[in-house]
Amino acid sequence: MLDLLPILAQQIINGLVLGSIYVLATLGLTLIFGVLGQINFAHADFMTLGAFAAYFVARASGGNYLIAIVAALLVGALLGLVVNQAVFSLLRGQDETRPLVATIGVSVLLENAALAFLGPVPYTFDSPYSSQVIRAAGMYFTMQSVLVMFIAVLAVGSLYAFLKLTFVGKALRALSQDQEAAGLMGINKKALIALTFVVGSAFAGLAGAMLGPILVLTPFAGATVIVKCFAIVIIGGFGNVEGTIVAGLMIGLIESFTTQMLSPGMSDIVVFGILLLTLAVRPTGLIAERREENV
């Protein structure tokens, strides 16, 4: 029993680290859905390209991971802006499947463009912090996992501060509640929607930089994560930031434990089993969104 406890604690730590990356990866989707009611399938490729940007910047700057993270953030933000202007702003007010299908197209395009330029061979992206191990209370942490947790908390904290404390954040919340009324109150809808995309996609880029050293870094890296992000979005409740955080950490923990106790392949089956169960029993997710139309 005493031997089991450190293993358990270690799995919990691993799960929370993984979960906080999932939270980062999913928050952008949640934010965009919360404001626009739209899903961006190319979000996965923002992560992939963020990871690659981090990889190349880290290499160019002689292994400076922190600059690489900033670069990934900027690449994500830029991609978000471009996709919003090129796809979503053209289909505003259309039925929801058209933007969905269009972003699937963007995703296929980005994925294969990355494949054509970068090739299918995995890149080894080592963070300098992965090799620094801290031992405390019988558990091992790498500096990398401490950094991941720190950045996740920082990112989520600043998102909250932005949404709750600033005037623009208030306008954004107004927009997510009622677009028309918000527009009538003199809120610049277009600019705010673009801002949502920029912030949400910057999160994707950030998540990519965090995922880079964990995943097999290929042009398809984001695609393997994004389906889990979708599951988290639904389990947490569409467009709900708190729900996403809870569900993201939960999925991280579940994955960490199924990988340890069953097999890595089983984790997807368990996660999506929970997804289908959620849809069957509580389709509004853990924390229900305030709209009735979707279910």
Binding site: F33, I39, V87, L90, L91, Q94, E96, T97, R98, P99, L100, V101, A102, T103, I104, G105, V106, S107, V108, L109, L110, E111, N112, A113, L115, A116, A223, V227, F230, A231, V233, I234, F238, S263, G265, M266, D268, I269, F272, G273, L275, L276, L279, A280, P283, E293, N294, V295
Partner: protein, 342 residues
């Protein structure tokens, strides 16, 4: 007032044109393998026929019933693996295994729809995506049955058919296999088209356009959506069975979610909701990438770009554009006629 004579005339004209269309299809199917004589292109036209089956199945679910399913490849996988395991591990007859594969895929579709009928739009899209991921992971991890990522090899073609007085039909021959799949594709197409033009098609359209109004007319959305999923997925299962015995090997990657996106792209680019658009999309997305082999990986970039542009600017897809230009042409012809009469 419509003259009853003209009405019956147009009706019989429509009947004639329908038979003409069917005859043209048969002629095209017969001639195709005679034009494409090398094994490579005969393989591609056979894959094309399989893709047509996949695309019209999805069009029935997405175009007619309005349910965006992103898990279509999973049902092809269920059909393919069911029939193949029955044939290779249990030594079942191909045709029996085929029926089992189709039924299993159809039942899986009904199972998914049992979750999905309560869902709309994004929820359904992601639920079906999740279903496809689960199916894929089961195929990868259930090694004792599916051999996992190593795949199943040496899947035999359907047994030869010998008809007395005629040559034995041997399906290891690409030409015979093409005729077999095309015959099934044509049959499925005709059945689906008749189904969509029957009152059932009207019920589906009503549910797609406005489920609440449909319910007020006594059309139960759940029931019809389940039926659409069952039929569409069974067709995907049929395509999967043919795919397995045509290719001869079966790996889970052939049914990954990216394949679902490919089938969706066929339906969207061809134009959803009229079946022949899906056929057009399937043909284009199978043949054009082969012609573009010279540009390597960029052909997939081109397919992504095409999907994006069509979704952005051509909501009716290519068939929508064709229908519109045909209408414009007809309009100008009638106008010209009436002008000459005057």
């Amino acid at each position: 007032m419509v003259d009853p004579m003209t009405l019956s005339n147009t009706r019989s004209a429509r009947g004639t044109s329908r038979w003409l269309g069917l005859l043209t299809c048969v002629a095209v199917i017969v001639v195709l393998p005679l034009i494409f004589r090398d094994a490579y292109w005969r393989g591609i036209i056979t894959i094309c026929a399989i893709n047509i089956l996949l695309a019209i199945g999805l069009d029935f679910i997405f175009g007619f019933a309005g349910q965006l399913s992103l898990g279509h490849s999973a049902f092809a996988g269920i059909g393919a693996y069911t029939s193949t395991v029955l044939v290779t591990a249990l030594g079942a007859n191909f045709w029996v295994a085929l029926v089992c594969g189709v039924v299993c895929a159809g039942l899986a579709g009904v199972l998914l729809s049992a979750f999905a009928v309560r869902l709309k739009g994004h929820y359904l899209a992601i639920a079906s995506l999740g279903f496809a991921v689960i199916t894929y992971q089961i195929l990868v991890n259930w090694i004792s049955v599916t051999q996992g990522p190593l795949g199943i090899y040496g899947i035999p073609p359907p047994p030869s058919i010998s008809i007395p007085g005629l040559q034995t039909i041997n399906f290891s021959n690409h030409q015979a296999f093409f005729y077999l799949v095309s015959a099934f594709a044509l049959l499925t197409y005709v059945l689906l088209r008749n189904l969509t033009r029957s009152p059932i098609g009207d019920a589906l359209t009503a549910v797609r356009e406005d489920e609440i109004s449909a319910a007020s007319l006594g059309i139960k959305g759940t029931k019809w959506k389940m039926m659409a999923f069952g039929i569409g997925c069974a067709i995907a299962g049929l395509a999967g069975c043919f795919y397995a015995s045509f290719i001869g090997t079966l790996v889970p990657d052939a049914f990954f979610i990216t394949e679902s996106f490919m089938i969706l792209a066929m339906v969207v680019i061809g134009g959803r909701g009229n079946l022949w658009g899906a056929v057009l999309g399937a043909v284009l997305l199978t043949v054009v990438p082969e012609l573009l082999r010279g540009i390597g990986d960029f052909r997939l970039v081109a397919y992504g770009l095409a999907l994006t542009l069509v979704a952005l600017f051509l909501p009716g897809g290519l068939s929508g554009v064709l229908i519109q230009s045909a209408r414009r042409f007809n309009g100008s012809v009638t106008r010209a006629k009436s002008e000459t009469h005057a």
